[in-house]
């Protein structure tokens, strides 16, 4: 068998997972509908005053993004675990970390990217300014991959456990707090006409840090869970 280069392995895994996701579209869509629904509930809960809504919009959108990414994380390894594909993946002579990175990328493309694209529509519902929406999208673009990457660790650790979904949120949500803080902070800075670059730079730093370590840690976690 020809040995695949790391990059073509990555592309292979991403393509496979995307095809699988497209075959059962409802899973993807329910997560998105959940996101839209949670965000739409807030104005009903706190009242329709535009000032208030503008103020809470970044926080609401970010928390909803966090929750809906938790919702889809359970599926990251579960299906492959059930039908035995994951065991085969662990036996592959190529780097498991790259394989895991591929799964993270496809998870983000399916569950993170749509949130980024949906955010402006929801932002308009909350009467956000165009500039604030731009920064919100930028923050989500940097932050949602971090959520997928950190979440993958939790998903790998809780693989096949009873009550895995709730446990997963308990493990991962505290780790995601910095992302939430800087994501909403950037939008807050724009509305206060301050510089938002520091928030986004820190978010970028966290992105690079997560990209460096999480695939490897997740690979270790998978080995622990599967032995």
């Amino acid at each position: 068998m020809k040995k695949l280069s790391l990059f073509s392995l990555l592309v292979l895994v991403v393509r496979r997972d995307l095809v699988l996701a497209m075959r059962c579209r409802t899973d993807v869509l329910t997560t998105l509908v959940f996101f839209v629904m949670v965000v739409s509930l807030f104005p009903l809960g706190v009242g329709p005053e535009a000032d208030m809504l503008r103020k809470i919009a970044p926080g609401v959108l970010w928390v909803a993004a966090l929750l809906s990414s938790m919702l889809s994380l359970g599926r990251l390894f579960a299906a492959d675990h059930q039908d035995g594909t994951l065991e085969q993946m662990l036996l592959v002579p190529q780097s498991l970390a790259v394989l895991v990175l591929g799964k993270m990328v496809s998870h983000w493309m399916v569950s993170g990217l749509p949130l980024v694209l949906l955010a402006p529509v929801l932002g308009l519902q909350f009467d956000m300014s165009v500039e604030a929406i731009g920064v919100l999208m930028l923050g989500l673009l940097l932050g949602t991959p971090i959520l997928s990457m950190l979440g993958a660790i939790g998903a790998a650790l809780t693989l096949g456990l009873r009550g895995g979904g709730v446990l997963l949120s308990l493990l991962v949500l505290p780790l995601c707090i910095p992302v939430l803080i800087f994501g909403t902070g950037a939008v807050g800075a724009v509305t206060a006409s301050l510089s938002y670059s520091s928030h986004l730079s820190l978010m970028g730093a966290m992105f690079v840090l997560a990209l460096t370590f999480t695939p490897w840690v997740t690979a270790q976690a998978l080995r622990i869970s599967m032995e």
Partner: protein
């Protein structure tokens, strides 16, 4: 004579050693608690700005310090267990987690009790309080993950990995919370710049030592139970006098 440094890294030998150490640490801790509380309540003077309310720091500060240190020590043991595959390290880590969570909870609780008369609020989104709360969540996550995995070996290793990831994240979380807070509402109330009275210092350090000894005693006692539970099918456990006696009675 060559010293075998690793003699007590085996659960078999450590079980006996821990059993001998527990009463010493427990008695010393109780004595120091008594001394610390006496100095704290009877000797230390009233604070000029905070009145009698400040006395809660004698338990609040040691509890906060312990909750943070115990997490790091726990993560250290977890890492040892994961790297060298030693059984005892993982048992120590899981024995420490409940004590750490308890101290984090005491720290939050006493902080709230102090905050109500001093700040006029049970809870303020102060950077330190928020990070302490998140620390409690991390402890709870560790305990929850460990207890929901049936196979003890897998539970040890999965929880160890989580503890290491958590300890890497703790500084990131701490600084992000700190900056978030300063960005939102400027600096909040801080301890007044006045230096502490000598009796207050004595009381605080005595209480800190007492809390350390308590944590060690409880951890050792708990690790003994964990060792017994994990090794219950082995011969040496069934030959222990306390175990053999119990079985004889039944």
């Amino acid at each position: 004579m060559a010293i075998n440094w690793f003699k007590y890294s085996a659960p078999t030998t450590f079980y006996g050693l821990a059993g001998k150490l527990v009463p010493w640490f427990a008695v010393a801790s109780a004595a120091l608690f008594a001394v610390g509380l006496y100095i704290g309540f009877a000797v230390a003077p009233m604070d000029a700005t905070q009145g009698e309310f400040y006395r809660i720091i004698f338990i609040h500060v040691p509890a906060s310090i312990l909750s943070m240190f115990l997490y790091l020590i726990m993560a250290g043991y977890a890492a040892l267990g994961l790297i060298f595959n030693t059984r005892l390290s993982a048992m120590m880590a899981s024995a420490m987690a409940p004590t750490g969570a308890l101290f984090a909870f005491i720290s939050l609780w006493t902080g709230a009790l102090w905050g109500k008369p001093m700040w006029g609020a049970w809870w303020v989104w102060d950077a330190r309080m928020t990070s302490e709360l998140i620390l409690l969540f991390l402890y709870l996550g560790f305990i929850a993950l460990h207890s929901s995995i049936d196979d003890p070996r897998r539970a040890d290793r999965a929880a160890a990995l989580l503890a290491i990831v958590g300890s890497v994240n703790v500084p990131i979380i701490y600084f992000s919370v700190k900056w978030w807070n300063t960005l939102h509402q400027g600096s909040t109330i801080k301890f007044s710049g006045t230096s502490m009275h000598i009796a207050m210092q004595q009381a605080m350090f005595t209480m800190l030592a007492a809390c350390w000894l308590y944590a060690i005693a409880v951890t050792l006692a708990r690790v003994r139970s964990i060792i017994l539970e994990r090794e219950k099918q082995t011969k040496w456990v069934s030959e222990l006098p306390e175990v053999a006696q119990g079985e004889g009675k039944q």
